[in-house]
């Protein structure tokens, strides 16, 4: 299976003929993926990364905030604060604030003696512990660095697209707001300048954007609407797509359902069970359809749907399947 996919990737983009639509938002330089907890942000981020690679781009998926947030897929591949190639042109990195802080100081202070002094005194670590938002700021700083065509770190690879798997809703919003927060706290000096620069990157609608992941259920749909408003009004960032994840395929018509419901009276336990599973599937599919329509009426960004995957655990092969489905 894997082999087959990597062969496909070698072909020029147009020959793949992936559902014929141009995914213009993949032409941006940075995409932040967010949504309510448990909607599948990590899987969708990885799927977007794979899809971008399929379209001939070099993409990197960034996971923020150390191990607690780690997706299973990243965990299994042992991704750390180092750019790792997961498959052809699809890269991954997990950003730890302390490592970013270190790298930041390295890039800022050219004089080695000064850097050593700062590290030895652990002052920066102390400062980070006392200053709200500094960790988020340096993490965004690293994201910015990854997105540069002229990378700051030695031997840095160029990426066409950086995809950031953000923390869930509230934390995700404060993460994106941290440059502004910080520019307000530190009114001048290098950190202020840097914060302003990062804020400009986030607000740059031509090169940066967000993708909101949702589920076809009441609460995630409501939260998606609020999130879109907050992102475009408060954070002032482009919302490029809403991805409705986990949609069931509509397998039965109304007439079918009538037939299926008769199975409920059947004495055979297997037939009875099949009837129950199918009726419940119909009911879920119908309520999902309602929620999808509701979402489409609520949000301004285009909505893309992804199918529910009937697999016990979501792994890299599921993410690949989803990558092909993104339209």
């Amino acid at each position: 299976m894997d082999r087959q996919f990597s062969c496909l990737w070698c072909l020029p983009v147009r020959q793949i003929g992936l559902n014929g639509r141009i995914l213009d938002f993949l032409n941006k330089r940075v995409l932040f993926v967010t949504g309510k907890g448990g909607v599948g942000k990590s899987t969708v981020s990885i799927a977007l990364g794979i899809r971008a690679a399929m379209e001939g781009k070099r993409a990197i998926v960034v996971e923020v905030s150390s191990t607690e947030n780690a997706s299973r897929i990243f965990h299994q591949a042992d991704v750390g604060f180092k750019e790792v190639e997961m498959s052809n042109d699809f890269w991954a990195i997990s950003i730890d604030p302390e490592d970013s802080m270190r790298e930041y100081v390295l890039l800022q202070l050219k004089v080695k003696a000064m850097r050593d002094l700062l590290f030895r005194s652990r002052m920066f670590t102390y400062l980070a512990a006392a200053t709200p938002g500094l960790n988020e700021l340096v993490t965004i700083g690293k994201i910015w660095e990854l997105a540069q065509l002229d990378r700051k770190v030695k031997h840095g690879r160029k990426y066409d697209l950086v995809i950031v798997d953000l923390p869930a809703t509230g934390h995700g919003i404060s993460f994106l707001q941290s440059p502004r927060t910080f520019a307000n706290i530190a009114r001048m000096g290098p950190i202020h300048t840097q914060a302003k620069q990062l804020q400009a990157m986030i607000n740059d609608r031509e090169h940066s954007g967000t993708v909101i992941v949702s589920l076809p259920e009441e609460m995630p749909v409501n939260e998606t609407k609020n999130l879109e408003d907050q992102l475009s009004d408060d954070v002032d960032v482009a919302v490029d797509r809403v991805i409705m994840n986990g949609l069931y395929e509509e397998s039965f018509s109304g007439a079918d359902l009538k037939e299926i419901k008769r199975l409920g009276k059947n004495d055979d336990p297997e037939i009875h069970a099949a009837g129950k599973a199918a009726v419940s599937q119909c009911s879920r599919t119908a309520s999902q359809k309602e929620q999808l329509e509701r979402l489409e009426g609520l949000v301004k960004a285009p909505v893309t749907t992804l199918p529910f995957i009937f697999k016990p655990e979501i792994d890299l092969s599921c993410a690949r399947k989803l990558a092909e489905e993104i339209a």
Binding site: R72, L118, Y126, A129, R187, L263, I271, A277
Partner: protein
């Protein structure tokens, strides 16, 4: 096995903990409703509940105070005498402001903190401040003694552990221990002003700017008079979490990573000496039979039931796919039971419709407030 009522027996506080997106808010509301219906005076504390659930509880105009849910709304749910349902939406910032006001020596000290730019940023955003403020409110309501039971829906955090760590993280922050290096021995403000400033400090100053350091210094100075009050309070809040009459209910889903997290959180609860009541697993696909045949055999069996071509196969496929996930759920939950060493595990089925009103909560309560045998019967009938 037990009903949630047995789990909560003798407790005055129920803390529903778990990672985001597992149905914590719904579970908390259902527990509170069910206990109220059983004659208790219950208050559920929640942060940002989904709007329709809030509406259904009549919560839309609520501020930071407990408000009684209109008895008419819960009538028809066989509410016993004395049963009352109260609810409140927590406003973390307002709670923090009140806490500052309580501990400030005078109005001037209070205003100095409330007006500080660093404070304004942290009171809403500091990691753990939302969690701590939820505990603080819980403590306040508990001290008032107005309710038989308080149900706390913990704030959505990345990790359930953030909740347990919140008091120590907040006090450590306020104590400004990490900043002591800057302050000692002559006081931070003096150093920032340049008198006797160390080389490292001047490097740092060049990097982050004079302003930030000065503001931080001002903030910690303004707070210094309140540290004792805050610490004392945080100790008492922590003690309440470990109280004999407080129990934790872990809410999770049946997927592998969700169960991993529940198991991990349970071990942390044990380490910290907290009382664990049980786990509520939401969206469980109960198995509809232990031996589901292969798709061809099942299709053949279903064929005589349908006239339309292909329908039998489609129905068979639906059951097979369902069972695939049901088997996963069964495997993960038996692992959970094993790791929880006999503590109650209550499985709420993956219902046919979303739950966002009192009627939906009542459906959940048919499962929460009964024994395991009845649950299986209900879920598979």
């Amino acid at each position: 096995m037990s009903s949630i009522e047995d789990v909560l027996e003798g407790n005055r506080i129920c803390i529903c903990a778990g990672s985001g997106g597992v149905g914590k808010t719904t579970s908390s509301a259902a527990i509170a409703l069910g206990m109220a219906a059983r004659g208790h005076k219950v208050c559920v504390l929640t942060i940002d509940p989904a709007k329709r659930l809030a509406d259904s509880l009549g919560l839309k105009e609520l501020g930071n105070e407990a408000t009684r849910v209109d008895p008419k709304l819960i009538a028809g749910h066989e509410v016993e005498d004395g049963g009352e349902l109260w609810a409140m939406m927590l406003d973390a910032k307002e709670t923090f402001d009140n806490l500052v006001a309580r501990h400030a020596e005078d109005e001037e000290a209070r205003d100095r903190v409330l007006g500080n730019r660093i404070y304004q940023q942290i009171s809403g955003a500091l990691a753990g401040s939302q969690e701590y403020m939820a505990m603080e409110k819980l403590f306040e309501l508990h001290s008032e003694g107005r309710f038989d039971l308080l149900v706390l829906d913990t704030p959505p955090s990345r990790n359930a552990l953030d909740f347990l760590d919140a008091p120590s993280r907040l006090t450590q922050f306020i104590e400004g221990k990490s900043l002591q290096v800057f302050i000692k021995p002559t006081g931070f403000a003096a150093k920032v002003a340049g008198r006797g400033a160390g080389v490292a400090l001047s490097v740092l100053k060049r990097l982050v700017g004079f302003d930030l350091l000065a503001d931080l210094s001002e903030f910690f100075t303004a707070f210094s008079g309140m540290i004792d009050g805050f610490q004392d309070r945080a100790h008492r809040v922590s003690a309440l979490l470990a109280d004999d009459e407080t129990c934790f209910v872990i809410v999770c889903g049946p997927q592998g990573d969700q169960v991993d997290e529940a198991v991990f959180f349970h071990s942390k609860l044990m380490e910290s000496g907290m009382n664990f009541g049980g786990a509520v697993v939401n969206r469980v696909r109960y198995r509809l039979g232990t031996r589901i045949p292969k798709i061809t055999a099942l299709t053949d069996k279903l064929e005589p039931e349908f006239e339309k071509e292909g329908l039998a196969k489609e129905v068979a496929r639906t059951l097979i796919e369902y069972d695939l996930l049901a088997q996963r759920d069964e495997k993960n939950i038996s692992r959970l039971r094993e790791d929880l060493a006999g503590e109650p595990v209550i499985r709420i089925p993956y219902l046919d419709t979303d739950v966002h009103d009192i009627a939906g909560l009542s459906v959940i309560n048919e499962y929460l407030f009964t024994d395991e045998e009845t649950r299986v019967e209900l879920a598979t009938k």
